[in-house]
Amino acid sequence: MAMVTAAPSGSKSSPHRRPGATDQAPDGLIPNRIVLAMQGVTKSYPNGREALHGVDLTIPEGDFVFLVGPSGAGKSTVIKLLIRDELPTKGVVLLDGRDLGRLKRRDVPKIRRKIGIVFQDFKLLPNKTVRDNVGFALEVTGARKRDIEPAVDRVLRVVGLTGQAEQLPGQLSGGEQQRTAIARALVHNPRLFIADEPTGNLDPVISWEIIQLLLRINELGVTVLMATHNAEVVTAVRKRVVALENGRIVRDEVGAAYHRED
């Protein structure tokens, strides 16, 4: 497995473009590759609940996107579709130009390794230390032991958890748990980072720290998609905001606030 230590920086001038996967940018700048695209996506769960309806969303490489909206709007559903944990009822989901709906079962793991994801409930293993939780993602994808150690150390340094490496998740604060989950998501050097922020609000200072961390990751060239309820943070950083309501996209603005500004 390739361990990229320096991701491409400067998203707008990223040299990692592939022909055929580009979009003509309206402002005439060099267009970025599309990492992620949803076209006319509708998702109905088996119980009949329609969580998404006709969603169109395009995310170019290097973007930083907040996915906002009230509880139950469909944010987590969007994320589940992007990692092919669920399949769309209608429409297509493209990741790196590949139609996830037509992906062969055995290719699913490869796609998932390109994505680093932090789940709304973290999904940390309570009986493993911070270090082992983070290393687990490498271990189960076939990394060699001697490659795991340095990679884990590196991401723990990035998220600032070097001092807590030997603690169990139960001995961590909420923010530290979230940072552990972020470290695990980053340990593969993903090109796309997705965070589903927990609804139970974290301390505002910690939320701020986490956002700073994600902005730094984004500056390294990683595309970031973050589902959040945190209005203050979203408004403060002025990035692209995609707002969902009742399973539909009601707003998609660059440099926006959490709420609509007229």
Binding site: P109, I117, F136, T141
Partner: protein, 293 residues
């Protein structure tokens, strides 16, 4: 590759002990099944060997009247040899019969020596191409004036064939039933192990672990139950082999001794293969539903 095998083995080992009680129960039932299996194989092999021995040695024995002249006997011998069903005819004279008897029962020499005449009859020992032709030959022999009595080996053979048939059928049915029970127990043991790891498996799937990483630890765990069960069974057989062989050779008298080494090796291989096979199959069935949808 090495990382994968090491990872799978480590998890299999932890999985086995995490559910210690259940794993031990599964191993115990596995041993029970394998002991039954090897017992049946050994018994059937012994009976088969005995049957072969009986069939090969002499299939028909015709005892001659003491009044029969050597001419009568050699005429009979010639006509037997001309029969298509007969492969071989041996003549055992009265003297030869006595020597054979003394060779087998040396301690009775005194008794025999005290006799004024040799009580043992001369006989013709006839080998048949097909034991089923016995009746033809027996009928022919009985019609001969020189023949006193035809020994009914056919009856013994028939009884053995019946016993072996019943044992084989009954044993196979019992084994299949016990085998299914063992499979059921293994499936449940491994399923418990899978459920205990449901969170881990979910994370593995979501971070991009391939099916192999999810499946093989459990397959190894099942194989481990099978391996342990087989090892215990082979150990038990090894310990019990002395008394068992003693019992068998006492009971059947004629168990060919030279066969036991190969029989032992074959039984060990069958026990090992069956144990590991059932363990692997059980695990495979348990994890199937937990892989990527």
């Amino acid at each position: 590759m090495f990382a994968f095998v090491a990872f799978s083995l480590r998890r299999a080992w932890h999985g086995f002990w995490r559910n210690g009680l259940m794993s031990i129960a599964a191993t115990a039932t596995m041993v029970l099944m394998l002991v039954l299996l090897s017992g049946l194989i050994i018994l059937l092999t012994g009976l088969d060997a005995t049957l072969n021995y009986v069939q090969q040695e002499v299939q028909v024995v015709a005892y001659m009247k003491d009044s029969a002249t050597p001419q009568d006997i050699s005429n009979l011998e010639v006509s037997l040899q001309e029969m298509a069903q007969v492969t071989q005819v041996n003549y055992v004279s009265k003297d030869q019969a006595m020597k054979d008897f003394l060779a087998r029962h040396p301690d009775e020499a005194d008794v025999i020596g005290s006799l004024s005449t040799n009580p043992l009859p001369a006989s013709l020992q006839i080998n048949l191409r097909d034991p089923n032709d016995y009746l033809d030959i027996a009928t022919f022999l009985k019609s001969q004036p020189a023949v006193d009595r035809v020994l009914n080996i056919k009856n013994t053979v028939d009884q053995m064939v019946t016993v072996i048939g019943i044992l084989r059928a009954g044993g196979t049915v019992t084994l299949v039933v016990v085998g299914l029970i063992v499979l059921f127990i293994i499936v449940n043991t491994i399923r418990l192990a899978v459920v205990a790891r449901a969170d881990e498996i979910e994370i593995m799937r979501l971070v991009g672990a391939s099916d192999a990483f999810i499946r093989w630890p459990f397959i190894f765990e099942g194989a481990f139950v099978g391996l342990l069960g087989a090892a215990i069974t082979i150990g038990l057989l090894f310990v019990g082999q002395g008394p068992l062989t003693g019992f068998l050779s006492d009971y059947f008298k004629v168990l060919p001794v030279e066969a036991s080494a190969t029989v032992g090796r074959n039984v060990a291989l069958i026990v090992l293969g069956t144990g590991v096979g059932i363990g692997v199959l059980g695990s495979y069935l348990s994890v199937r539903s937990y892989l990527i949808r």
